[in-house]
């Protein structure tokens, strides 16, 4: 029993560590990727050295890391931790403090249902690489993801600031407009794979279509994938859907936040980007599946096969999932630095009049095709 608990804690530590590191490194990715896209160099100055003689190799490494701007993330955290934690006089002290924690809590909790790799067989024990095996995992992820907006709305309402309230209200209306399309766009996938259980969905994407194409969600549900990615992007509250924060118009729901509380909202955004990336990879891009890789080894459509040991299979799975998540984070960052922000009416138009009917039509077509091909 204690061993089971220990294993679960180990898996949670792996997931949580991965998520938080991905979220933290996104500050670096954001700086450097935007710089490369705009023909700049980006962060390359922040570094520190240790004063002792034996630390010379460490200092060399620190200089190199500073030269590519990674240590800026550390400087950011130091700055945020040492800044004044300001609570406005007209705000609610308790709720004002609660809001950022609520926001980041639900975003991180949603990762519990996402399988990050195949089952590990160790010492006669089967360890699933998933924190909580919820049999309606997809619903749990969507529900927890939607709950995350409570922190944002709360932050807007209890700050006692009109601009923050506007930001909170915008977040609420945006989430309602997109969360529906987000959920409905997944119904087609649920029809295709016949399950709400995320490990089952991933397992059913491991087979081949017509003998050569991986049976990934994106090939079965291309429209559903586009709608899901768009709505997911809106869910992360980043440009072009950053209406709740929209710095040039209203400063956003975190107007009255400073220091690490503001940092937590920032972290939530990045965690949600990781969440949407992980969910897109899981539902539409085969999760941890590698194309043509079965537990027995690689089996290519032209007949050749390479045997792979069970542990290497797990390694490939973890690597594949990580690569897919990183690719999606990169893609979302690319969109964030390419497209301008939507106007409020354009946002509502896109959410209610385009994405929602599209996802409904997708269900109808998928249903008909599913019945005909059964």
């Amino acid at each position: 029993m204690w061993l089971d608990l220990g294993i679960k804690l180990g898996v949670s530590a792996l997931v949580l560590g991965g998520v938080l590191n991905f979220a933290g490194m996104q500050t670096w990715l954001e700086r450097k990727q935007s710089a490369l896209m705009q023909d700049r160099i980006g962060a390359n100055r922040a570094y520190f050295t240790l004063p002792w003689g034996w630390a010379a190799p460490i200092n060399w490494l620190l200089r190199k890391l500073g030269g590519i701007g990674i240590l800026n993330a550390l400087a950011d955290v130091l700055k945020l931790l040492t800044k004044e934690d300001f609570i406005p006089a007209q705000g609610d002290r308790f709720l004002h403090t609660l809001a950022p924690f609520l926001s980041v809590f639900f975003a991180v909790l949603a990762f519990a249902a996402i399988p990050i790799g195949p089952d590990v067989q160790l010492f006669g024990r089967t360890i699933p690489l998933q924190v909580a095996n919820i049999n309606a995992g997809l619903l749990a992820v969507l529900a927890l993801g939607s709950l995350g907006v409570y922190g944002v709305i709360l932050a807007g309402l209890v700050s006692g600031n009109n601009l923050a309230t506007l930001g909170g209200l915008r977040a609420a209306s945006q989430v309602i407009a997109y969360e529906i399309a987000l959920g409905v766009s997944l119904v087609g996938t649920i029809i295709c794979f016949g399950s709400l259980d995320l490990p089952t969905i991933v397992a059913r994407q491991g087979v081949l279509l017509w003998g050569w194409l991986p049976r990934w969600g994106v090939f079965l549900q291309p429209l559903g994938c586009i709608v899901f990615v768009t709505a997911g992007l809106a869910h992360t509250k980043r440009v072009p859907f950053d209406l709740p924060e929209a710095e040039p118009e209203i400063i956003g729901y975190f107007t009255e936040y400073s220091g690490m509380k503001f940092g937590l909202f920032f972290l939530t955004d990045f965690v949600e980007v990781v969440l949407v990336s992980a969910l897109t990879a899981t539902v539409f891009f085969g999760g941890w599946q590698v194309p043509y890789l079965t537990p027995a080894g690689f089996q290519f459509p032209w007949g050749s096969s390479i045997p792979v040991s069970p542990l290497a299979y797990v390694g490939f799975g973890l690597l594949s999932f990580t690569a897919k998540v990183v690719a999606f984070i990169w893609f979302f960052m690319l969109i964030r630095w390419t497209l301008p922000r939507f106007r409020y009416d354009q946002l509502m138009h896109l959410g209610w009049k385009i994405l929602f009917p599209l996802s409904l039509a997708n269900i109808a077509v998928t249903g008909i095709v599913a019945v005909m091909t059964r």
Binding site: I41, G67, L334, T338
Partner: protein, 230 residues
Amino acid sequence: MTSLSDQLLHRIRDAHKRRKLTWWERTYLPAVARGLWLTSGHFWRNLFLHLAHRVGLFRDVPAAVTIQYPDERRKTALRMRTRHRLMKREDGTPRCVACMMCETVCPARCIYIVAGEHPDPNVEKVPKSFDIDLGKCVYCGYCVEACPEDAIRMDTQRHDIAAYSRDGMWLDIKELLNPGTRAFDTAPQKFIQLSVDAFKRLPPTPEPPPPGLPAPRSARQAGTSIAPSA
């Protein structure tokens, strides 16, 4: 019936009307795809070039348009007017004869000269002090054009001028004769008067770099690079 000019006018107006978007264009997807294509193209190109520069390839193709300012300097234009300097005779005294032409012509009135006597009867006069208030100077170059002795030039290729106070913006005669010797955070010796013997004891002045090349560092900046050697 409309006249020809009216028809032309209508045609021009029609041509300037915003074209109606097709159904495919109104989905916004092609525009998004084109934008992403452009930005990701820049991303991969610059990433490749940065990595290639690390291993010493394609050094002549820049990966970024930015200049890392204190570490790298931009080339100045050939005709650029930069900070002033006073020319010296071979014996170290200023070439200036304190004729007050530059002080008179200066539209900003930023030049202050105190004339003194030169021991050489052929020279007659020499400035005891020569001060320029760069806080007032408009870099018009009239002083250079007015000078009959070619004693003042604006070719030091120094254009980064920083000071903590207005008084710090002054150039005293020592700094004018030896540009770049005073660090920006030390105060100038305003209106300091030097004798002819003192002029001769000043250190020799190196020639400024030829125009078009990156400017030299100031005394304080030299050798204190803050950038890690990445």
